[in-house]
């Protein structure tokens, strides 16, 4: 007796899904038309005075040689600060969902051997990316992504914590980027320079400090996002497991 009702309901659901996808397609097409119109307007707008020349001329005073890094961490430091906060909020959202699912099974000797080579290389490359961002393509986001990739590889190889420390330390590492950014900004404000307005003499070192903190925070956040849940939400049990997992992640190197 319930079958006709079921049929009707599934029919209606299918119709609704079709209507929804049609609506989405129309909206997307409209968005595409608007974007194209804006693009052509910008193309035909003529060469009005733009900010690019001014920004490029001031790069030597920004403390870094790479214009992209100068824009990201100096001219538009607010944007980067809020971007780091967005990443932090994403990890908080993931942590609030559910405890971390169990990891994958322990890798065999071949994969473990490769991981013991790849992970240190990734960490060194990440440091290089961070440093090279001062005068060439690179920077905190790329360096942090490499650190996060190292975490993903460690988790795929069977370490359920992705090589991350316990929850208490992890919290500090996650907020490190926003914290350092805000502290530097506030300190500059107290010194009378204005929020995140670096004095040209100190700019290089302040930017390096902020970028290092941001790299660690981004790497931790991406690896924590891949773990996919709060590390020790199951109570006190996993903390002992973490304590034993932490040395094992650092001893991923050649085993006898």
């Amino acid at each position: 007796m319930t079958e006709p009702a079921d049929w009707a309901r599934s029919d209606r659901a299918r119709e609704r899904a079709r209507d929804l996808s049609l609506l989405l397609a129309v909206l997307l097409a409209l968005l595409g038309v608007v974007l194209l119109a804006v693009y052509f307007l910008a193309l035909n707008g003529g060469a009005a005075p733009r900010l690019a020349e001014l920004a490029l001329a001031r790069v030597p005073q920004s403390g870094v040689g790479n214009p992209v890094t100068a824009v990201l961490v100096n001219y538009r430091a607010y944007d980067t600060l809020v971007e780091l906060a967005v990443l932090l909020a994403a990890v908080l959202g993931i942590w609030s969902q559910r405890p971390a699912p169990p990891g994958f099974q322990r890798s065999s000797a071949v994969l473990a051997g490769m991981v013991s080579w790849v992970v240190p290389l990734l960490i060194v490359t990440s440091g290089y990316m961070l440093w090279v961002g001062g005068y060439a393509p690179g920077g905190a986001f790329q360096a942090g992504a490499l650190l996060g990739a190292a975490g993903v590889i460690v988790r795929l190889a069977g370490d359920p914590t992705a090589g991350l420390p316990g929850e208490a330390v992890q919290r500090w590492l996650l907020v490190l980027g926003v914290l350092m950014f805000a502290l530097v900004g506030l300190a500059l404000m107290l010194l009378g320079a204005g929020f995140l307005t670096y004095p040209p003499k100190l700019a290089k070192w302040l930017i390096l400090l902020i970028e290092s903190a941001a790299t660690i925070a981004i790497g931790t956040a991406l690896a924590a996002a891949y773990v996919g849940g709060r590390p020790s939400a199951k109570g006190q049990g996993p903390s002992a497991g973490e304590a034993s997992a932490a040395p094992s992640s650092s001893s991923l190197g050649p085993r006898p």
Partner: protein, 97 residues
Amino acid sequence: MSQPALLLAFDIVLLTTLLALALAAVLSPEPRRAVMLFIAFGLWLSLVWARLHAPDVALAEAAIGAGLGGALMLAAARRAARAAQRGTARRADDGAR
């Protein structure tokens, strides 16, 4: 063939493949396959960025867009598939009852 013509041909191949990958990723019915196509799309897009003389964006796209985003989405697709399986199993149980 002169160099500009070669570059033009390269660009056309690059863009056609990019559009084809994007369409395939969007139209793919299975999440896992869509994610794999999306990873390929991200790597290809990083080539396009490099061609546009934007090495910073190319690096970020390859590392974050294709690499880590792909890993996260693969994990999400696996969980979604497992949840869907559980859902169909429950529905089958209800039907048998």
